[in-house]
Structure formats: C-alpha cells, structure tokens
C-alpha cells in the first residue's frame, strides 16, 4: 500500500478500516542468499538497499528482540555531515544526501527536519580548527557556514555568551543538519524491505555461526539453523558479543551513552546546538521536549543504563551554556550501548572468515550514518567491493597504519 494524503483522506472518511500491517511476520526459511543479523536501522537499511538498488531479495534480517529495539530507538535523532577527514566526510555527506530524499524514496514520513546544527566556538584556536573543518566539508560537497558571536546573539539570545570559562566567540553551522523521527526510519526501511520480499524475522537470536573450513555457511538461531551464502553482522553495540561467537576479537569496546528529555516546552531552540567544550548538546523535539546529552560514561559496559556522575556533568554543561534549561524538568533519561572503536570511526568490511561480513564500530554517530551505512554495506555484500565512499572503513586499518582519527586521540576508545 502506497501512503499519500489522498489515502489518509479516504481512510479517514471510511473509518480507517483499510490499513494493513506494515510488514509480514514470516517464519525463517532454511536458506537465503544473505542473512543480515540485526534488524536495527543499519540492518534494515542494508536489506532495503540490497532489494531496491542491487536486486537481491532472497534476504533475511534476523533480530533477537523486536525490530528497531536497539540504538535506532535510543539515540538523540541528529543528522549531520560535519566531519573532516577524507575517510569519513564523503561518506557522511553521501548519507546526508540520502536523508534529504529518504521520505520520497521509501514513501514513509520520517519527519526529516533540516533545522541546522551549530558547533559553538570559544577560542581563536578552536575557530581556526572549525573553519578548517568547514573547508574540508566544502571539499566533500557539504555545506558549512561560519557565524560570528554578534550573529549568534541575535539568533540564540538565551545562550550565556559571557560565560567566564567558555565565552562564545562564534560558531560553525551546518544548515542542512537537523533531526529525524528515529523510529520511523526503522519502520520505513522495514516496510520497504518487506514489500520487496525480504523476510524480517523477529525474536530470533543468533546463538552461533556455522563455520566450515574458514567459511561461514549460515547461523544457528533460537528458531533453528539458517543457511546463507553470505552472513552480514550489523549489531553495533553488541558487536563484541556477536563476533565472539565467530571467534573474532575486534578493535572495539562497548560503552554507554546517556540521553535526556525534558517535559514539553514551547518552541525555544531552533536547531541543534553543541557545546563540545562543556560535554553538552541539545535540540528540541517536535513535541517540545528538550533532547540533550553529553559524553559517554567511559567504562566498558553492556548495561543500557549509565551512572549519576555523567548525569551531573551533562546537567552542569547545560546550565553553563544555557541557564534557562534550569527551569525545565527532566522527564526521562536512558542509555544506549556504543561500539567505541579504536580511532572513533566505523567499519564496513569483509572479515577473515569467508562469507562473513561486519558492519559496526559506529561510536555515538551511528544514527546519522544509517542510510549510507545500509547502502555501502549492501554494495559490499552485492559486489564484494567496497562502495567508493567507504573504502577506508576497513577492519585491518590499524595494522596497516591507516587510521581515521578525527580527534587525534589515539587508541583510547573512551576518549573519542
């Protein structure tokens, strides 16, 4: 069924009795061309683009919980392509271009809102670094815009411009950045993949890999074995757990990132504002809640909850840069598990085991990457060569010395 304004109108007039389930709930078949592990944003996007762009529809997406139950439903919904390094920026700009056409492409309302993202500047050195990054963004075809402190005083009068420790000296805008209704991304991709014949199999946990003579022939699951010509792991947050079943160690640690939402308020924040120096970023959802967060907790964990010191740190950052937030009441907070990689950048690659592919290591930036990650992973699975914008996202890059370290922090995952 194709969604349209006309459909809503006719359904509204006929008691909304004609809506059908958005996807099927099939039982697993004994064999597929490709089995994707993880029905999150990236896994579903991979299945969608495999079917739509590469014509491969004999595909199953297996999921241990329910569709979209991982980080696609636990993030702060921001999209942007404001990276610097050549291994990253063309990929994220590709993703941004896919976001811009996504709703028309999969015929689903994902509430994509390019309401801008702003990185605040507090010193001359930071201004130099941000302008350099802006120029790198231009090179990849993205947009960037320097804003002076005077301009920001007009646009965002509620910020604390004369903060003693971090006075605001300007900012770097990406006007095409913004927010998306995150769950709808999973649902839209799931619907698009399902309607093209992909089996999305929920409540089906992978318990092991069927590996013969160095080649992966399928997976063992709680709903029985499924054979596959190719197995595509796509479980960021749980990558360490899943790949351990294939006997692989990864350049990844799992960490928790917390996020927070206040009660609904009248519109006050036009776009996304990041206060990196103070470990704080904030936007306002369409329902009015201020959505904000800060740094990861910083220790290995698979628990989807954090600890109080980081709650305090984020609240302090918020109070420092926009004191009006102190009048808002916190409605809820939650944590999501991040694959923190050794250089802060992700992986879309084959593994040393034949027929086994890996997508992960997205750190706290997986949501914005969803469309490009799916497209590039589908490209790799279909053609066995990496997509041109994802050639550097290799698992062996540390061994070869070709790291993609945006912040220059070295192999310390909790600092990226």
């Amino acid at each position: 069924m194709r969604y349209s304004a006309f459909k809503i109108l006719t359904q509204g007039l006929t008691g909304n009795k004609g809506w059908k389930p958005v996807w099927r709930e099939p039982d697993p078949k004994p064999e597929y061309d490709i089995v994707i592990i993880g029905a999150g944003g990236h896994g579903l996007a991979t299945a969608y683009y495999l079917a739509k762009e590469f014509g491969i529809t004999n595909v199953a997406v297996v999921e241990k919980g329910w569709l979209g139950s991982g980080n696609i439903g636990r993030n702060t919904t921001i999209i942007r392509s404001n990276y610097m390094l050549p291994g990253n920026e063309p990929f994220y700009e590709f993703s941004m271009k896919l976001w811009e056409n996504l709703e028309q492409d999969f015929n689903y309302n994902a509430m994509i809102s390019q309401r801008s993202i702003l990185n605040l500047i507090h010193s001359d050195a930071q201004r130099d670094a941000f302008i350099r990054r802006g120029n790198a963004m231009f090179l990849a075809g993205a947009d960037a815009e320097y804003a002076s402190a005077e301009q920001l005083r007009q646009e965002l009068p509620f910020l604390d411009f004369d903060n003693a420790r971090f006075p605001i000296k300007g900012g770097l805008y990406q006007r095409r950045g913004g927010t998306v209704r995150h769950d709808a991304v999973a649902w839209g991709y799931a619907r698009g993949a399902d309607s093209r014949g992909v089996d999305i199999i929920q409540n089906c946990e992978v318990t092991g890999f069927d590996i013969e003579n160095g080649t992966c022939r399928g997976v063992e699951t709680t709903r029985g074995p499924i054979r596959a010509k190719k197995v595509a792991v796509c479980v960021a947050g749980s990558s360490g757990r899943v790949m351990a079943k294939a006997g692989m160690r990864l350049p990844i640690e799992s960490h928790v990132l917390q996020a927070f939402v206040t009660e609904g308020l009248k519109p006050v924040i036009p776009g996304v504002i990041t206060f990196g120096a103070g470990h704080f970023y904030v936007s306002q959802s369409d329902k009015g809640g201020l959505v904000f967060g800060g740094d990861i907790d910083g220790y290995n964990t698979y628990a989807q909850r954090g600890n109080l010191p980081v709650v305090e740190d984020v609240a302090e950052g918020g109070m420092a840069i926009m004191p009006i937030i102190g009048r808002a009441r916190l409605l809820r907070s939650w944590g999501g598990i991040m694959d923190m990689s050794m250089d802060g950048s992700p992986f879309i690659d084959k593994t040393d085991i034949g027929g086994l592919y890996f997508n992960g290591g997205w750190c706290y930036g997986g949501f914005k990457a969803t469309p490009a990650s799916g497209w590039c992973y589908a490209h790799l699975l279909a053609k066995d060569t990496p997509h041109p914008v994802a050639t550097e996202m290799r698992l062996d890059r540390f061994k070869r010395g070709h790291i993609i370290d945006e912040k220059g922090q070295g192999n310390q995952p909790n600092l990226h």
Partner: protein
C-alpha cells in the same frame, strides 16, 4: 559505582580515570618473534566481554594508584579490587 580501594576503602568511581582491559598490563616484549603482530593485538584488539571484566582504573583524585577492578559489564557489580602493582607482580613483572 563505588570502588572499594584496597588501601583507602570505598571511593566514588568519579574519583577515578578509566583506562581499559587489564590485559594492558601484559605489554609484549619488543624483541619477541612476531612482536609487530603482538603489539597490534595488544594495542588494538579487545575481548570486550559481556560479563566479568578485569580493567584498569587510575585513582587520579586520590592516591594516584592503579587498580585492577573486576566488574560485571552487564550489571556494573564490582566483585574484586586489587592494586595493579600486586597483579603485575603476580604475573611475573618486576614492578
């Protein structure tokens, strides 16, 4: 989280800096056969287990000792805290 420091007693985890897996104590010998491969694994690959995990914490806002904390990554429960010095010596290191 509260870390029960072997010398100072229970301390708030916020006083500590987290480094990572306690396997970082076992630095390879640069003169070993295949040292390049060993250093790659030492520097970049991690077990990253879901469950019991031995890890290095540094008491920066305290006595600046390094600790090996055994903690469950699913529950955050800490079952054992040792001085990293004692752990390293038990593994045959001179200090």
């Amino acid at each position: 989280m509260i870390i029960n420091h072997p010398l100072l007693g229970p301390r708030d985890a916020a006083e500590f800096i987290y480094l990572g897996d306690a396997s970082l104590i076992d630095r390879p010998d640069w003169q070993d056969e295949g040292a390049d491969e060993k250093f790659y694994e030492y520097g970049y690959l991690r077990d990253n287990p879901a469950g019991e995990h031995q890890e290095l914490w540094y008491h920066e806002q305290g006595d600046r000792s390094w600790l090996v904390v055994t903690r469950n990554t699913l529950t955050h429960e800490i079952s054992k805290v040792e001085l990293a010095r004692d752990v390293a010596r038990a593994r045959g290191r001179s200090k």
